[in-house]
Amino acid sequence: MTALAVTGATLARVLRDRTALFFMVLLPVAIIVVIGVTVSGFDQFRIGLVPAAQAGPVARELTSDLQEAPGLRTRTYDTPDDARTALRRAELDAVVMVPNGLDADVRAGRSVSVPVLVEPSGSAGHGAVSSVSAVVAEHAARLQAARFASDETGGPFDDTLALARTAERTASPIVVRSETVNGQSDFLPLGYSYSTPTMLVLFVFINALAGGAAIVQTRRTGVYARALAAPVAARTLVFGETIAYLLLAVLQSLLIVGIGALAFDVAWGDPLAAGALVTVWALVGTGAGVLAGALFRTPEQVHAIGPALGIGLGMLGGCMWPLALVPDWLRSAGHAVPHAWAVDAWTTLLSRDGDLAAILRDLGVLAAFATALLTLASLSLRHRLTTSAGA
């Protein structure tokens, strides 16, 4: 019962603090939006398009073919310089410059080269060129057919071009068909389904660490000392605090899960498994928070070092980018922090329709982390409370 009084007091203090609420809900949601918007469309090449200054129908057709190509995300630029700058800044993978004399050259039977600017080293440039090539080739096929028909039958080019378009619809070309073999993704889905679970992992942890600052504060104001002067065991105090921060972590998780599901359409997968994962992760965060509360000397230290530590661990553990992208040794090193296991488990739930059994191993590791952290935290907090003079 006494423990519950401690829990109640702590919850009331935190929930009354508007800054804490900002960090608990508003900031994570804002970051989820920014990252969610950023990591969508990774399966398309980003193409800048500079249309011809005087575009005839052929040039216009090429432009619209490029704009409608499913593998390309195009953005039109007014001047070549703007497009070039965007490419240099890596805002684009390639820039297609539709040549000015395209119509005239094609009608005159000349071959045309469409210049595509790319970043010569690195990046997705060459892949983008190939994708543009495929669209241009399809366009060129129609031109070749129209010119051939025009040469053979003496009909005007524009008529045969129209015929070529019709013929294309009925033709049976050699098709390239893709088939997805590996549906078992190593990554979270793109967009909000990527950013929401990773930020859930990141922020529940960071927020729990920040909670440690409140524990340090209470320690220093002597409230604990006063409580211990009452017939309350140190064990009870520690337990009460732990429950409070656990509840806060669960509350924060539920808010993020709820907002993710309602506002961002995140499918959280098997509810039982997701629930277990949220709970275990809240325990890990609470353990880390109480430990911080026991180890640090001043609340300022926690405020300063907490976020840096949280972000660093989050990066190591794959909250900021998928661990499947990084070198092997770094991926292994990343699994030394609990975040990696949590993100792995979310990936299983969201991308592979996993159930509780599928994430049992991850849950086991996380539970071990939680147990270790909580034990260490309660031992050291109790030690602080019962031995040091000024707590």
Binding site: V34, E91, P120, F148, I174, V176, R177, E300, V326
Partner: protein, 389 residues
Amino acid sequence: MRVVLAIAAKDLRQRLRDRSAWVIVFLAPVLISALMALAFNNNDEFRANLGVVDLDRGPAAAGLTRVLKSPELEGTVHVRSYDSEVAARRAVDAGDVHAAIVVPKGFTESLHGGGAEPVRVLDSVDYGLQAQLAEAVTESYVAQVNADRLSVATAVAAGAQETDVPELAAKAALLRLPEDVRAQGLPDDPLKVISYFGPSMGMFFVLFTVGFGARGYFIEQQQGTLDRIAAAPVGRGALLIGKSVSTFVYSLAGLATVTVVSWLAFDASWADPVGVAALSVAMAVCVVCLTALVIALVRTEQQAQGLASILVFALVLLGGNFVFASGTTPAIRTLALFTPNGWALRGFTDLGTGVRGWEAVGAPLLGIAAFSLVVVAVTALLLRVRRTP
């Protein structure tokens, strides 16, 4: 002047004595940039490991493999051959290759007319871009064949005799597609991850010190030392400048540490060291202005801490310190230009891609200056409204 220096030196001494300040301004950004540099050591390069299954065993299929191994795609595409489709599927499934192209039996024959079985690309959900590339290369390769077939069909539709088809087909086979794509490399340097995220993390943590500075002011007010300074023959101006100088020096030291470490240890590159310095100085000035704003806005240490955190996170989120600005949507890139750090990062992006001098940092410097001026104006207004002594 001596008084200003005395105040600045005292503030700096206090900050340097605070170990968490060291962590925040010097250690954390360096460690996090290092982590990013390590994580994206080679991964800024796009690579596609493609499997090829040649069931055709004719010259056409060999031609496709040759395209994949052509000089333009060298360095991007790595080809591995598989004997059977089953083996290729297994390889894609295991992640050994990102995608595999299966050239069907009878592919070579289909080029000369007749039934065409589709060429299939086996892909994996995680490597959409690589699948896209495999598909595109294959499509480009079959494009000529398809174009020739289309030419014959169009000629027939335009009135050529059906009986002439074999002759037409022979003629069409000599045609070349009238449009092709010519890739041109840009002359500038590609942007390295560390050239962006080094300064980005530096700015993030230096902005964090706005909270420190503002809190420090209220702590001084509380412990009475501010009164003591006011009782000395020290003008408010000298006090303000002294405190600003220390914040400035501290912020600049933080930014300088990250940029120098990124440069020396992690190979970040910027075209123009003077530009880097100018951006860092501008950001440090801006941190001073923001600190003053927070002090003018709030009344207590706790409020200072809270407001500073919210302000900093809002700026950092909008400005693109957490996500690569160039990778986001144009809307977010536009929003970033309402923040000083967003401007600075644009400057670092340009410097990191070989642009020098005013062209790279001119607009960013003006942007940061405009932001700082607005902050100063608001601060001055607030101080005028609530002047106390």
